[in-house]
Symmetry: C2
């Protein structure tokens, strides 16, 4: 666990407004440590619409299996999130723990097990004692309040050094709706998410299938475009809930994804998702620098993204960034190993605005001093033009430092 | 550059016998540093048979392109290897440098440019001044001697902390033949090789197409099964030469790959290739521990290898090994992200002989003390049984330490 807040943390955090229709409470259930806040309960006063995207791991955690099954119902009344134990690779005991947790939550809130959603983060492979929840969820439901977003974000942190929150507003027709989101994650972060949990709630009145369509499209250029260490968690969960409270202001329920009234909401949601995703990278374990990798001129957008991720996941690129070394030869290496079409003699590479290579060799006007100045920044844009087509992609990563090794070389014990 | 020799270095190095038909010399041509040995010339007294495998990078170095073109001729008279500059991503200048080097070598040895093979390792993207070779190759040819393998291995080192050599003998019919090999490489090491150069020579009399068949098959379970950091170089080169000098002892030339007389030779060659490949991993940048990852029970051998490499390349697995932490949850994570079929509830995982997980959860007899004892070893075997099929694979990697970050965060400057 890192003591100090990441130097890349946002300089200011937004005030998170309460959001109609959702209340939250936290508790210390003693899951791994005593007297540490480790459970978050999110309660929807009325049945909320729900959407979710999850890890693509072939070995997902028990809560991920549980959520996928309940998503079909399209109704959420409560979310239970715990840190300290991922309830992953826990076999039949893991399934039993999700059932017991859901039962306790359903009883506390007064709904069916199939209206409960669960997420767990922490150590993999240790049985989770769900009995610890049973005693606290009823009381938490009684205490739950709307103005509680910062505390909720704090409750789900593991190796995070700061809580991740974001808020946006949008117009649907004449009605102003709000979107609030929280996220956690700092390591085991790679596309298809990672030990990344994020919960986003809006008071807009939007049907579940529409929410799912918005979320599935929004995750691509946000959470699925960030990587800390190329490792993908068993537990990644991003959920979007709509309480529908804005119906009281006269907002007509949105029933189809192509409704033009959704344009502003979609833009606000995508912006919020990107905000949260970048906050996750900026809290990358041991990170001292943020790198934005843009690839242009690839054969397709998908090819551009594979090349961008090859660069963003390369330990040699990431250690060079840590050393403030404008080692563009390693960028060439990473382009070459991506497996996508590339022609050495058409490549061009920029660090910030400084073009360091063009037409397959060092830029004739290359300036070591200019390039070094870019590398000394906290935020480093890297751009590679493949020179073959119109495919583009942008992904974000952080540097690979000795602190990453220190944090992960002694985490479990 | 690391000062200290890797703690994983072999405890003893073999005496490398001279090998009939090949002579070597080294020189300090001042390619990057003054007064540092940076060129190796290998001369074949008579035209030798030749085979090669090279990086699969889409941005290969100029020498790789040059060797691929000359391989079609099937005849080698000399090899020129330099360190200090990879002659990669050097555009038209790079091609001109290979032509000029080949011309100088051909003149020195007295053969055609198409009988010369080249390899370069070092910084990417800096133009290589091939004029520096012109003056030294003639003199080197005059001085070249057979009993020079250790020196040759030293001359091609970059971040290596020890020279990598291996020797074997085999019988072809009644004749004893010898195989000698040298290799270099310590970082940017991943399957499809890496900044890995290796040159293997035998005095056996074997036709070039047969050599190529032996080498292409031999590279799979050796050099293509090791990874230090998942990064693949632009310059990987593994070449096998046969001087044919054993013909003087009565060895009948081998003309077909299925000749049963090759069995002993094939086994000896494969053993030597594995020896050299493991020496490369044992010199992985910053490595303190060697990890052998064996996957059994996958759907196919190819699936097993992808899962094994997902484990071997995972920063979270490698940092856990560095921390002597038996964090088998990260093994589950790496299995899950590999994208191959896996059923959480059938997985079993061993560290050494200690089974830590079975049937999708922690082994009921799990012993933290026993497992920790395995993690404290220098060589750590990890085995994962997927429980689905008969596919198996073994790959080798090293841990990810702060020293790796230090070495690569300040290499170019």
């Amino acid at each position: 666990m890192s003591a100090a807040v990441s130097p890349l943390a946002p300089k200011t955090f937004p005030d998170m407004p309460a959001l109609r229709g959702v209340r939250m409470a936290t508790a210390a259930a003693g899951i791994k440590y005593k007297n540490r806040t480790d459970v978050l309960l999110m309660v929807f006063d009325a049945p909320a619409a729900v959407a979710g995207v999850f890890t693509r791991s072939k070995c997902p955690s028990a809560p991920v299996d549980f959520c996928r099954a309940n998503l079909a119902g399209g109704v959420a009344r409560a979310v239970v999130v715990n840190s300290g134990n991922a309830n992953a690779f826990t076999g039949a005991k893991g399934r039993a723990a999700t059932e017991l947790t859901a039962e306790s939550a359903a009883e506390a809130v007064g709904c069916g097990n199939n209206e409960i959603f669960l997420a767990s983060t922490g150590v993999i492979g240790e049985p989770l004692d769900a009995g610890k929840f049973a005693g606290v969820l009823g009381e938490m439901n009684g205490q739950a309040q709307g103005d509680f977003w910062q505390e909720a974000a704090k409750a789900i942190m593991t190796t995070d050094t700061y809580p991740k929150v974001a808020t946006r507003t949008a117009q649907i027709g004449d009605v102003t709706v709000t979107i609030n989101g929280i996220a956690k994650g700092a390591g085991m972060i790679a596309p298809d998410m990672a030990t990344m949990l994020s919960f986003v709630v809006t008071d807009a009145d939007i049907a579940s299938p529409v929410l799912q369509s918005l979320l599935s499209a929004g995750v691509g250029p946000s959470f699925n475009s960030v990587t800390v260490d190329s490792d993908t968690s068993t537990s990644d969960t991003l959920m979007l809930f709509a309480t529908g409270a804005a119906a009281a202001d006269g907002q007509a329920k949105i029933e189809t994804a192509d409704d033009p009234q959704l344009d502003g909401f979609r833009a606000a949601l995508n912006d919020l998702l990107k905000d949260l995703a970048l906050q996750v990278v900026r809290d990358g374990e041991g990170a001292r620098k943020m790198v934005e990798v843009t690839v242009t001129g690839a054969e397709t957008d998908a090819a551009a993204k594979r090349i961008a991720l090859s660069i963003a996941n390369s330990p040699l690129v990431k250690t060079a960034v840590a050393g403030e070394d404008a080692n563009w030869g390693r960028i060439v290496m990473a382009v070459g190993k991506a497996g996508e079409m590339a022609d050495r003699d058409r490549l061009a590479i920029w660090f910030g605005d400084v073009r360091v290579a063009v037409n397959g060799e060092r830029d004739p006007d290359y300036s070591e001093a200019q390039t070094t100045a870019v590398m000394q920044r906290e935020d480093i844009p890297v751009r590679v033009d493949i020179g073959l087509g119109a495919g583009t992609a942008t992904v974000w990563t952080c540097d690979l430092t000795k602190e990453y090794v220190a944090i992960n070389g002694d985490y479990r014990s």
